[in-house]
Amino acid sequence: MDDGIRMNSPVLSGQHVEQVRSVREQREEQPLYVTRIKVYPRRVEGLYRRIKWTILGLCLGLYYLVPWLRWDRGPGAPDQAILLDLPGRRGYFFWIEIWPQEVYFITGLLILGAVGLFFVTAYLGRVWCGYACPQTVWTDLFMLVERWIEGDRNARIKLDKSAGNSIKLVRKLAKHVAWIVIGAATGGAWVFYFTDAPATFVEIFTGRASLTVYLFVAAFTATTYTFAGWAREQVCTYMCPWPRFQAAMFDEDTFTVTYQRQRGEPRGKHKSGTSWDGRGDCIDCDSCVAVCPTGIDIRDGQQLECIGCGLCIDACNTVMDKVGRPRGLIAFDTHANQQAKATGTSHHHRWIRPRPIIYAVVLVLVASIMLTALLMRSDVELHVLRDRAPLYVTLSDGSIRNGYTVKILNKARETRIFDLAIHGLDHARVSVVGEEAQPVDDHVKLTAKPDSVATYRVYVAEPAGGKRVKPAREHNDIEFILRDARQHAQARHETVFVAPKH
């Protein structure tokens, strides 16, 4: 290969340029097990870079600011809009309060997230990877800091190659300190989702926060620093499972970052003023490779390492503008379009296709199930646990009694008095340990404190003797029914009443 040509593209003439080669190209010269080839992405400007900065700002802003949002829930309740109170066993999301029993809402959210990802991927390829994935966002932020301190691509390569001197030491030290500070801020913000943010913020700096808080801050500082500072594109290429099966969501009409081979080839150096006839538009300047955060050459075609960020599009467009050729040599395009162009036919892009429609249907289905569950959500739950030992007790008057542990989950923030009744036994008498003052009847009044579980030992007795219409069978299906004082907010629980064999 002729280094002279590659190093002196007309665009960048007059500037010292390090040789630009893709990681794949460099790897082919190495044995099977290779150490990481460091990627030095160059600064780039353009539409996709601006979108990427905007999304980065949005994501980081959301991440850092959301724990500080307040939401008044009245006295005794935390006023943080989004809070996962693990010791208190509650999840708060604005007006919604989740108990551990309702953790399926989080499962639903994860399913929505996954199917949403499939849906977007089917249309736009790996835009999640390129724009919104935390790995991408933080790596981008770390690269920005790196560029501020060590300079752009060529300066960084030069700095790495230079012998150890004080300037190198100061710059490297400054960079790593900055990274660790960002990492600490990341870890610090993470714990705010699990604790009261303003209080914990003060506690962290005054040394009064719990060991758990410090450990989590340390762990997230370490992972942020390692993943965004050192591992970077290796996380996407080796650790993340998503690139391995993302192709399964693609079809021929999915937009991906594409090099227009039929327009670009044959590539080669172009001297200003000479004819463009008989050659492709690609001037082989390697700008697309230099800006790539994963260090690939998009001209090799669609590949696993491509995170679909479109920075190579920006780089190529800049070059095309300079050499006076139309933009879009690298563009978000579909496989079907490419094939049509290669064969000279025209292709009408299909927006309505089976794959995204299936994803959309699943998405709507899961979302409506979750919404229904959320709207139908009762602020009271009833759990009944039947005594296993003894199965039943014969009382002195010969009646049979079963014991139950009844738990009333009062999710409201007020003390409520419930009415607990039994259905399924003819002459059931209900009594409660500690509530002996209440008349023995077929129902009983139970008090539940605000936002807590009230536990009661409840006895159900079925009288024996001549008055009974029919003897209780060995297994009787019964039902506990809970009503609040205003007779709404019902909860039911089915169980059995056991009697001896006759």
């Binding site: 005594d387 296993r388 030992a389 003894p390 199965l391 007790v393 014969t394 009382l395 002195s396 008057d397 010969g398 009694r401 014991g403 009594s431 340990v433 500690g434 002996e436 030992r457 006895y459 024996a464």
Partner: protein
């Protein structure tokens, strides 16, 4: 067998000289990370040997011992419980029953102590067994109030303790007080009191015998006497079986179930916890 050590052309490494089926084994050194890890573990092991008890008779620099660790954990736990335990010791049983926090602690503790000490006779959940009273029903031989249960647990029944609950039913048959046919008649009468059997000529013959020999303890109508621990005969609960043969056997040989005194075996607070737990089993009195 090693034959000839030579340089491999492809990798540029020496071979070990081992050849199997024409395949030469390369002398590939272990990766550095592996060797370093190995030596770190060796150094670690030496350090461990010095600071932790590894050799017989030598304690180790840290003075660590799993036994002292356990004692420490137990003491810690005792410390955590102390706040509750001292309150339980000071509180009366009635107050204990009323204080929600103390009650929850006592019920949890009582459940554990009951499982460790009482379940062998009284069964899980106080279900009882033949000869061993059920604690889950509404019938109490020696009284079902908190104080009565407290006394029964502390001093037990028919044992060597000075304050033990004592009573003894006469052995009507064995000691020749009643003859076999008379015992049979009394049994028939006793069964009518609980409604288990209809009145008959035999039960009519048994009635005066019951009035003469049994009323003092079991009462006019078989209502029993908790002062003496004599069971009710007018209910459906039979400690030793409610069929005719079992009742005859009870009258003939008498019954005398015993229970150990727990004072001295369990501390005062533990016994109190046990009392409130047992009290809730059947709903108490």
């Amino acid at each position: 067998m090693p034959t000839k050590i030579e340089k491999d052309d492809v990798t540029g490494r020496d071979t070990t000289g081992h050849v199997w089926d024409g395949i030469k084994e390369l002398n590939t050194p272990l990766p550095n990370w592996w060797v370093i890890t190995f030596w770190v573990t060796v150094v670690w092991a030496v350090g461990y040997l010095i600071v932790y008890p590894s050799l017989p008779g030598i304690g180790g620099l840290f003075g660590y011992s799993s036994r002292t660790d356990l004692v420490q954990s137990l003491n810690e736990q005792r410390g955590q419980r102390a706040a509750f335990v001292s309150k339980i010791e000071a509180a009366s049983l009635a107050d204990l029953r009323r204080n929600e926090d103390l009650l929850n602690f006592a019920l949890a503790g009582g459940r554990q102590v009951f499982a460790d000490n009482c379940v062998p006779c009284h069964g899980a959940g106080g279900a009882g067994a033949r000869g061993y009273p059920s604690l889950a029903d509404d019938d109490w031989l020696w009284g079902g109030t908190l104080d009565m249960i407290h006394q029964t647990i502390r001093y037990g029944v028919r044992n060597a303790d000075d304050k033990s609950r004592i009573s003894q039913m006469p052995r009507f048959g064995v000691d020749g007080v009643l003859k076999a046919p008379e015992i049979s008649d009394v049994a028939d009468y006793v069964l009518t009191m609980s409604g288990s059997a209809q009145s008959s000529a035999a039960s009519a013959r048994g009635e005066p015998l019951y009035k003469e020999h049994c009323v003092a303890c079991h009462g006019e109508k078989g209502e029993g006497n908790m002062e003496l621990g004599s069971p009710r005969l007018d209910d459906r609960i039979w400690l030793y079986g409610g069929d005719r043969a079992s009742v005859i056997q009870s009258i003939t040989n008498a019954r005398a179930g015993a229970m150990p005194a727990w004072e001295g075996r369990l501390d005062a607070a533990t016994i109190k916890m046990l009392v409130v737990y047992v009290h809730t089993l059947g709903g108490g009195k």
